[in-house]
Structures are given as C-alpha cells and as structure tokens.
C-alpha cells in the first residue's frame, strides 16, 4: 500500500473528499453523475477522481447503484431501454458523454469484465483475437494473443490448446479468458463488475493476483461484494449507500482503502465494513 502523507490527506479533504492520490495521474474524472431508469433516479450526484494505474473498488449494499454507476463509465448503462445518465465523465481529455463521443470507441477505451464469464463459442485463441480484429488490429496477432493471455495469468494453462473451445475451460479460467479478451483491445481503463463472485477461492486468488499485475498498465475499477477482496486488492475504495428506501444511491465516502478499512470518516461506512448492516 502506498504511503500518503498527512498533509496530502488534509489537502484532499479540504478539496472535497476525493482522493488526490500520491502523485498518480487521473484516469477518469466523474463530476455530478446521475443515472436513471426511465423516471427512476438510481444514482445521484457522484463525483469521483479515478486514479490512473490504481485499483478503485466500489462497495455497498445490494441495490445501491454500484453496477449502474460502473456501467455509466463506459456508456453501457444507456443500452438498456429508457436508461440514461447525466453529468460529466472525462477520460483523458474527452468527455465521454459529449455529443461528439462515439460509444463504441469509448467502450474500446474502457473495457468491461462481467460477473459471469461469457466467452464466445469460439476457440481460446479466437476469443482473445476477435475483439482486436474487429477493431482493426493489423499487428502480429499471435503475439497479441500470447501477451494478453500472459497478462491475464492464463497463458501457461492454455498455451497447448489454443484451438480448443473457450467453453472447455473452468469457470475461473473462462473469467481470465474474458479478461484477456478485454486486454487484447488495449483499453485504458478496465471495469470489473463482481468478476470473482461466481468463482472458487483458488480462481478468485488468481483473478486478484492478475489485478495486481494489471494496474501496472491499466486503470482498474471493480465492483465487489467481498469486502476483504476490496481491502486486499484496491488502492482506493468508494462506499455507495442509500440513506432511505426509495432514494437514489450516493457515493457516501471515498478514500484510500487503508483509511476506509481502518478508520472511515462516516458511521455508515464503518457499520457496513464491520458487517453491522447490509
């Protein structure tokens, strides 16, 4: 865990409660983001600085808007009929909700791994190569597939059966295959929505180790219900919370993971991370 001085922490709190990071650059900046399903407001007024090359974990009770929020970060939310988002999400210099932004390009730049592994009914090799190919990749495809599988910590297990179906892999391997598939299109940010919740402990550990490697090259945002997982793998943690039934979800507290799991500022956060509710 990186060290952040008290002075930096104080500066951060005075500047509105979003971690300024320990010299890290900004991966994404979210300002006043709200998400709707028709007229129902599911998430309200989320502002968050997502640091580049860090893992940001989102935790909170079921139904508090974590998955909705994360899907807004690559414009996946709006594919649901009637769903829309308001606010500003900046990726690099680009406002991803600007009229000039192409959602397809945004989704290439901000990849996503889902809760259940969803490999294509293709070979292991094609699962990884496919996304890159349709995005116009013209380089050495064998090298890209090998590199992506290595980054996803799957290469050693599949290098001798790349032509076999992705369906033949175990659940944990399938999920790492989906991570490799996401990496192959070389995104800047990887979103993960409970990527290990359906996996056994050994597979979960492999996914967690993978994430630790991934942040060397990518910015990672992960939704997890496993608080110990958030504590183990993330640099920053955001706690989403609904104060009253029927209200939209809010980002209740956002800070370094070390702080969130040792001495959070708000009582609700402490009650949640200590398992006193939720």
């Amino acid at each position: 865990m990186s060290e952040v001085s008290r002075e930096q922490r104080e500066t951060r709190r005075e500047s509105g409660g979003t971690p300024a990071g320990d010299g890290a650059t900004l991966g994404m900046q979210v300002q006043d983001l709200s998400a709707f399903y028709g007229t129902f407001k599911a998430v309200t007024d989320v502002s968050m600085d997502v640091q580049a090359n860090k893992v940001t974990a989102l935790i909170g009770p079921s139904g508090c808007g974590k998955s909705t929020y994360i899907r807004c970060l690559n414009r996946m939310h709006e594919v649901i009929p009637g769903a829309r988002a308001e606010g500003k999400v900046t990726l690099g210099e680009e406002d991803i909700y600007a009229k000039s932004s192409d959602p397809v390009v945004i989704r290439r730049r901000v990849g996503m791994v889902f809760q259940k592994p969803n490999p294509f009914s293709k070979s292991i090799y094609e699962n990884v190569a496919w996304g890159a190919r349709i995005n116009g990749f013209r380089g050495d495809m064998d090298e890209l597939v090998e590199r992506s599988l290595k980054q996803a910590a799957l290469w050693e297990e599949v290098k001798d059966r790349l032509k076999e179906s992705g369906y033949g892999l175990s659940g944990g391997q399938q999920q790492r295959l989906c991570i490799a598939r996401t990496l192959a299109v070389e995104p800047e940010v990887i979103l993960m929505d409970e990527p290990a919740s359906a996996l056994d402990p050994v597979s979960t550990q492999k996914i967690e180790d993978t994430m630790d490697q991934l942040k060397q090259s990518y910015t990672v945002v992960i939704v997890t219900h496993n608080m110990q997982q958030a504590a183990r793998i993330s640099d920053y943690t955001g706690f989403f919370y609904i104060e009253n039934m029927g209200d939209p979800g809010r980002l209740w507290e956002f800070d370094e993971t070390e702080k969130m799991f040792s001495n959070p500022e708000r009582k609700e956060t402490e009650d949640y991370v200590t398992g006193r509710f939720g």
Binding site: S262, N263, E270, V273, T274, R276
Partner: protein, 230 residues
C-alpha cells in the same frame, strides 16, 4: 444487529481484559501498602502473580488471534483487537514489575534504610499507582479527554525518579541505608517509573481506539489548534 456473535465475543474479550486490569490494580494497591508499612506479609501475597498474569495475557492474545483469523475484523473492530493486545501487554508487564518490587520489599525488610529515600520511594509508588489506575480508568470509560492529562501526571513520577536517583547516588554522610537496600531501591525506582509509563500508554490506547489517531498526533493537533486560535 448482524454479527451478534462476533459482538458478544468482542464484549467478552474486553471484559476479560478489564478483569485482568482490575487484578493488576489490586496488586499495585498491595505493593503500595507493603511499601508504606514495610509489611512483608502483604508484599509476599503478590509473589507469583507474574506467572498468573502472563498466562491470562496469553489467553487474551490467543483469543485476539482467533477472532482475527475467523472474523476478518476491520475499522473499529480491528482497532479494538489491536488495542486489547497492546493493553494486555502493558497490564502483564506492570504486574511483573509489581511482583519484582514486592519481592524487593520482602527481601530487604530487615535492612537499614535511608529515611528520605524511603519517603521518596513511597511517594513515587503512590503516584505511579495513581497514574496506572487513571490510565486504566480512561481506557475503561473511553474518556479520551482525560488521556491528555495523564502525561502531565506522569511528569511528577519523572521528577520523583530524579529525586530518588539523586538520593541513591549521593547518600547523606553516615546515612544511605544498607548497600543492598540502596541497590534494590534503584531498581524499584526504575520499575515504578515504568509502571507509570504503562499507565500513560494504556490511557493513550483509548484515544487510538476511539479516534483511530495516536495520542501523540491528537496532542499535536490539540496544541496546534490552540496556537492557531491565539
């Protein structure tokens, strides 16, 4: 409330710790009585407490480890377990020092003493006991405002330490008591100073438990705030 069993286990652990604290307080009370009255019988009552307190301390630490392994505590629960381990260590060590002092009282009962030095020693014993009791009380009631005062009370022990050491190093002509007694007195002075320090640390643990801040940091912030307000 979810995690009721865990909460009961934490409550039980805290209760065990405070019970141990109460017993160490009683030992210190006997130590002071033995020193005040040169009462060998009272001093001998405390011989053997060291082993008993160490065993109790080990039980508490074992329970802390089991709870950490089984319950993966975080935030205030984690701070509580950390603090319980730390306070246990202070209690056990204070108990050990108390036994050493009582042993010295018992073994030097017949030796000639320096009256001024004995007065300083007894005063130091009373003060160290008071600091220890207050530190434990601060922790028991999580009364963190009072934790800040403990250091000032410990300063009195430090003054008495200097005074006693001076008397040991520079005995009056024809006085000073038996050499063996003076040697044991030097050790007792040191042990009493340590007991007082343990009391300060036990009280300071309450600050960390409640706020997540070290008392040193809290003190600094408190002092800085006064300066800013001036």
């Amino acid at each position: 409330m979810p995690r009721e069993t865990f909460q009961q286990e934490l409550d039980g652990l805290l209760s065990d710790l405070l019970e141990l604290g109460g017993e160490v307080e009683s030992s210190l009370e006997n130590m002071v009585k033995a020193m005040e009255a040169r009462d060998v019988d009272v001093a001998r009552r405390e011989l053997g407490v060291d082993v008993r307190y160490k065993m109790r301390g080990m039980d508490i630490e074992r329970e802390c480890m089991i709870l950490q392994a089984r319950q993966a505590p975080v935030a205030k629960d984690l701070r509580l377990l950390y603090t319980v381990q730390s306070v246990t260590n202070h209690l056990v060590r204070s108990g050990t020092l108390c036994e050493h002092i009582c042993q010295a009282v018992a073994e030097t009962a017949e030796r000639e003493r320096d009256e001024d030095l004995e007065i300083a020693l007894v005063e130091m014993a009373r003060t160290a006991r008071n600091v220890f009791n207050e530190g434990l009380d601060v922790f028991r009631n999580r009364d963190i405002e009072r934790a800040r005062d403990l250091q000032a009370k410990d300063d009195k022990v430090d003054l008495l330490y200097s005074e006693a050491m001076n008397l040991i190093a520079n005995p009056s002509e024809g006085g000073g008591g038996a050499p063996e007694w003076r040697m044991r007195a030097a050790l007792m002075v040191h042990y009493l100073e340590r007991i007082s320090d343990h009391g300060v640390d036990i009280g300071g643990s309450a600050v960390f438990l409640v706020t997540g801040q070290r008392i040193e940091d809290a003190m600094k912030q408190y002092l800085d705030r006064n300066v800013d307000g001036a």
